[in-house]
Subunit: 372 residues, 2 copies
């Protein structure tokens, strides 16, 4: 007798960090299923932190799924957008926790994209010096990248993600169904972080993305499941080796050095994070080529895929007078910089990356060539 395979069973990726290990669940219909949250502590109160766009769509469903786990389930909707990823908005979470008399066992649930996840995670890291939290990412970008690995932060006017903590969630619940309500622009922004994993770690995955980018943009369920799973697997392997970014982990920031400069230079929220990363990857690939690490064909192939994903392949002009100078100024406060020297994630060859410095003149040339 054959057993029927359970086609709807969620895929699972594990982040191996000793006593801070946790599961990433990937599948359809997970958000409203109480079983998805089995890794979260039971019995205490909970606070769902979301934003004003996502909360009306999914907060009630999540609250219902959690009703059996927690004594009381409170909700908070933050203003939506990267420009609100600051202390004032973070403090709304602390205010809510203290107003509800939340104690050290209260569990926070981050229901939203990268901004909600980063802020809720940082609030969980700091409230009473640390309470448990669960990531329920509702954007592709958060599912494949920001909700995984424990990086939490808020922005400072002088730099992105400058104030934060390494603080791991108890679980990440990636419900693929919610991607159906994602605006196409946000879906594309998420694809930037999916594409990223190819050049830095896995060119076979890059081949697969090239073959399935149209399916991904059309929200094909199988394609999305594989993209999320493979992205999380690569990220999990890197994070398990270097949780606090002493070295290797920095390669996950491919495209981010230029990308953060675009985001900060244009004003947070003007470009989506994934859009900055997209143009930033082209610029970092160009810089790799200038340094003789990859050939023009590789840069073209990457650029073409980014374009097919609906993403920008040229950087923004962030200063009409001295565009390259402004990029350099913003990139000097990047967290990878050391002693004022900017360090870039460069492609050593397809599927391999490393972090290194580059001459300013070369960087300026790349910026001049890559910005319209």
């Amino acid at each position: 007798m054959q057993t029927t395979p359970n086609l709807s069973a969620p895929r699972q990726v594990s982040i191996a960090l000793g006593e801070r290990s946790y599961p990433i669940l990937i599948g359809a219909g997970l958000l409203g299923d109480a079983a998805s949250y089995a890794a979260a502590p039971k019995g205490s109160d909970a606070l769902i932190v979301s934003n004003q766009t996502v909360a009306p769509l999914y907060a009630a469903q999540l609250a219902q799924a959690l009703a059996g786990r927690h004594r009381q389930v409170h909700q908070l909707a933050l203003p939506d957008g990267e420009q609100h990823k600051d202390w004032a908005t973070l403090n709304l979470i602390f205010d809510a926790l203290l107003t509800h008399g939340a104690d050290r066992k209260t569990v926070l649930y981050a229901l939203g994209g990268g901004v909600v996840g980063d802020m809720t995670g940082f609030a969980a890291a700091c409230y009473m010096r640390g309470v448990p939290f669960v990531q329920v990412p509702t954007t592709l970008l958060a599912q494949v990248d920001s909700s995984v690995g424990g990086k939490t932060a808020i922005n400072h006017p002088l730099g992105k993600n400058m104030i934060g903590a390494f603080y791991q969630p108890r679980a990440v619940v990636c419900d693929l169904d919610v991607l159906g309500t994602l605006p196409p622009r946000e879906l594309s922004a998420g694809l930037a972080e999916v594409i990223k994993y190819g050049p830095i770690a896995d060119m076979a995955f890059f081949d697969w993305i090239e073959a399935h980018v149209d399916a991904l943009r059309a929200l094909d369920a199988d394609a999305l499941a594989h993209a999320v799973q493979r992205s999380c697997e690569i990220k999990a392997a890197v994070v398990a080796q270097d949780e606090r970014e002493a070295g290797l982990r920095a390669i996950l920031n491919f495209g981010h050095t230029f990308g953060h400069a675009i985001e900060a230079g244009m004003g947070y929220g003007a470009w989506l994070h994934g859009e900055g990363v997209a143009a930033g990857m082209v610029m970092a690939a160009e810089l790799s080529r200038e340094l003789g690490l990859v050939d023009a064909a590789f840069v073209q192939r990457l650029t073409r895929l980014i374009q097919r994903a609906g993403l920008p392949v040229r950087g923004a002009v962030i200063d009409a007078q001295d565009n390259a100078g402004r990029y350099l100024q913003l990139m000097r406060v990047d967290k990878k910089a050391e002693a004022g020297e900017i360090r870039f994630v460069l492609i050593d060859g397809p599927g391999r990356a490393s972090v290194r410095a580059a001459p300013d003149a070369l960087v300026r040339r790349v910026i001049d060539r890559c910005c319209q």
Copy 2:
């Protein structure tokens, strides 16, 4: 031939936390001695964070001692006082770091009392998700308690130390000479945390304090050295067993539950932290007696020593209408509280403490009896 013993060699206590272990140095003349900072990373920039009272006295001396270790040594003086232990003041540290282009290897030095240490430590925990820091405590309270063990935090209007992190320094440098410039009121406040270690852990040390309290108040060097060393030893032993306060570590908060309510109820800065703890210890001892855990003679003996240390033995009236009610309200947001139930550090018998709940009616009686 006899060798001359080096009488000025610093005493050393070690905090054993695996790869996060660090030394506490205790002795005269340490602050201005470059050798005291050997455990701090070398070569990067440094930022000395102090306050407007302490900086004029010692910042130049510390900067000189660090000149050979760091490329550049920047300085920042925060406004002085518990009422400034908030986000706005914390942000002055981030502003300074970003303005100076501080990177992930920049070392922060906390030069001051508990407020400076807590805020600098929290800034170090959060800046770029963690940079190294060193504690250079200049008050007795900071030397015997707050600089040791990695608790960092800021206050929230709704509760003390509500937002923070467990984040260990690379070293603690306790220069006993600096206690000579400490106002007598601050010296007494520090003695509260010294006295604390007796009832919770070591009655032989309590006997010693009774015999030496006058010498301590007169700044006798040998007495201070022993008090700081023994306090750090006890704290180190507790922290090594329970770094993140899952259980045992909470006994170090003897007197703090009532004390925090006094501090918050009177407005931060009106009572010194040590003064709140002093009156709070009498109240917690009274509550222990009400529960039949200790006898009246023990409470009297503790009260007498606190009084001889120049500290308040009666709680403040923080609400003219419903004083006990206001205490209870404030104590319910204490970090030890669970599901709205206040948990007190009680004395199980001289030298032994545990954390437990108590009936509200009993707590009210103690508050009514202990406040003037």
